[in-house]
């Protein structure tokens, strides 16, 4: 009986954790899927999003849920600047990204990752901080669900659904999907490829930094300059699990990973849980190299 309760509890927590993982990975997925660039500094922008929520809470007294939209607006601007600073030179006038450009963007964003995390150590110190946000708990029988985690899970799903609606139902969203399929053809319908790619990058950053704010609910005392080193690989795994460029893939991958980590953690240790999270990549890549989603 106790074992069943434990599993139900970890399943519920795993699903909620998975939702926020999904959003954090979703930003990477959009950029990877549309612009075909893997942003190695992805984790650092999650970290900056988390610090954003921390400082907004400290100075403006607002909750991580309210910080998420503020972060998203900042993310739009940061993503736009990031595109022109790091990607534009490599992507312009190219019909598909070349191996050389791929290497250049990997190296450049890797350098950016080191730069931001070290700058963060200087600015924020290495001491971990946290956001105090506790709107109470909800009780289902023996199950105590913290409302903060539940709210964050709901907002996470709304964010993913929102980006999906934007990409499916708006004209500019269609243009972004067109770009992800054929850059040259997109230019031949009269769209400036740089405009489309910079918009997609901005959208990806907005989601990433909003996700960083939401994540703070799960790291009550753990916001630190090096946290990106954990969440970047988690995001990579989620995107590969779900399939790069598949917008619901982020949710599928995130939920899979969240549940897996929580369940393994219940029966073993946290370290083994994170190891398992990466091990699951092997069977998925062997049997479904395009991701879990069809």
């Amino acid at each position: 009986m106790v074992a069943v309760e434990l599993i139900v509890r970890d399943l519920a927590f795993g699903l909620m954790l998975g939702c926020v993982f999904s959003v954090v990975a979703h930003g990477l997925n959009i950029i990877w899927g549309v612009v075909k660039v893997v942003n190695i500094a992805h984790g650092e922008f999650i970290m900056l999003g988390a610090y954003g929520a921390y400082f907004l809470n400290l100075f403006a007294g607002i909750t991580p849920l309210e910080s998420a939209p503020v972060n998203a607006v900042i993310g739009l601007l940061v993503g736009y600047a990031f595109y022109y600073a790091f990607l534009h030179r490599e992507l312009r006038n190219k019909q598909t990204i070349t191996l050389q450009s791929e290497m250049v963007t990997l190296a450049a964003t890797f350098g950016l990752s080191l730069f931001i995390s070290n700058l963060a150590i200087i600015l924020f110190t290495g001491n971990p901080v946290g956001v105090n946000y506790n709107p109470g708990t909800l009780q289902f029988g023996y199950l105590h669900v913290p409302l903060a985690a539940l709210y964050v899970a709901i907002v996470s799903i709304l964010i993913i659904a929102g980006t999906w609606l934007f990409l499916e139902k708006t004209f500019i969203g269609s243009t972004i999907r067109a770009y992800s399929q054929d850059v040259t053809a997109t230019e031949l319908v009269g769209a400036n490829p740089a405009t489309v790619a910079s918009l997609a990058t901005a959208l990806g950053f907005a989601v990433t930094m909003a996700g960083g704010a939401l994540l703070t609910v799960w790291v009550p005392v753990g916001i630190n300059p090096l946290m990106g080193a954990l969440y970047a690989p988690i995001s990579f795994v989620i995107v590969v699990l779900g399939g790069p460029g598949k917008m619901w893939g982020s949710l599928v991958g995130g939920l899979t990973l969240g549940v897996l980590i929580d369940l393994v953690q219940a029966f073993a240790t946290a370290q083994i849980a994170y190891a398992a999270a990466f091990l699951i990549l092997i069977p998925v890549l062997v049997f479904r190299p395009g991701g879990i989603l069809k």
Partner: protein
């Protein structure tokens, strides 16, 4: 105009002119530089020397998307549609520029009037359409940009002769609307039938040009082109 890729020159001092409201065609064997010539016109390739003029303006340094905004549309080699988007979305994307978007509804009706089959396929992903239907989408998408001129690269490629004839009929219809076209074709007979003026390209050079009736009789054309087929 001369052009090429990397260190390989493909087109040597080619000079061509397309008059308003006419169909000009470029015929010639494989590897003659036909597609290369078109790419310098739609902006996907920068010419090595010489220039491209459109409506009296020098557009040589314009990126491809700016040429589309200016009224120069393309049906590129291999059609280059968006296979995972619906027929209607593919068409609507043609109306990207502000000028075209204002009139998008009316243009879409015009395209559906021209190709009624596309209306039946509106919600279907383009990847699921037949070759002929895809060619219609490609022409329709170009029309959605509200062009003054359309550049077509091998519109008959992969199509049955009957379908090809149908497509060329539509192009003649479009000429009546005042549209100019520059068409590259392997299928020389079909193209020469509708053309007002033709260029014969061989090994990157224009070896003959003139109204198609004159070219059909020319010994050079037969030798250069038809004997190879």
């Amino acid at each position: 105009m001369s052009a090429g890729y990397g260190g390989t020159q493909v087109v040597w001092d080619v000079s061509m002119q397309c008059k308003d409201g006419t169909i000009s065609v470029i015929v010639g064997p494989n590897g003659a530089g036909k597609t290369t010539t078109l790419k310098t016109v739609n902006g996907l390739l920068k010419p090595w020397s010489g220039g491209i003029y459109f409506g009296g303006n020098n557009i040589t340094d314009f990126p491809a998307f700016r040429r589309v905004e200016g009224g120069l549309a393309s049906c590129p080699e291999g059609r280059r549609l968006f296979p995972q988007l619906s027929t209607e979305t593919n068409l609507m994307l043609g109306a990207y520029s502000r000028r075209a978007r204002h009139a998008a509804g009316a243009t879409l009706d015009f395209v559906y009037g021209l190709f009624p089959k596309l209306k039946e396929r509106a919600k279907l992903n383009v990847g699921k359409l037949s070759g002929g239907e895809q060619q219609m989408v490609s022409i329709g998408r170009a029309l959605m940009t509200r062009p003054k001129m359309i550049i077509l690269d091998e519109p008959s490629l992969g199509l049955a002769p009957k379908l090809t004839a149908e497509i060329f009929e539509k192009l003649v219809e479009l000429r009546k609307e005042g549209l100019s076209m520059l068409i590259v074709e392997q299928n020389a007979f079909q193209a020469l039938r509708v053309a007002d003026y033709a260029y014969v390209l061989q090994e990157g050079k224009v070896i003959n040009e003139g109204p198609p009736a004159e070219l059909m009789d020319s010994e050079e054309l037969r030798k250069a082109y038809f004997s190879i087929e």
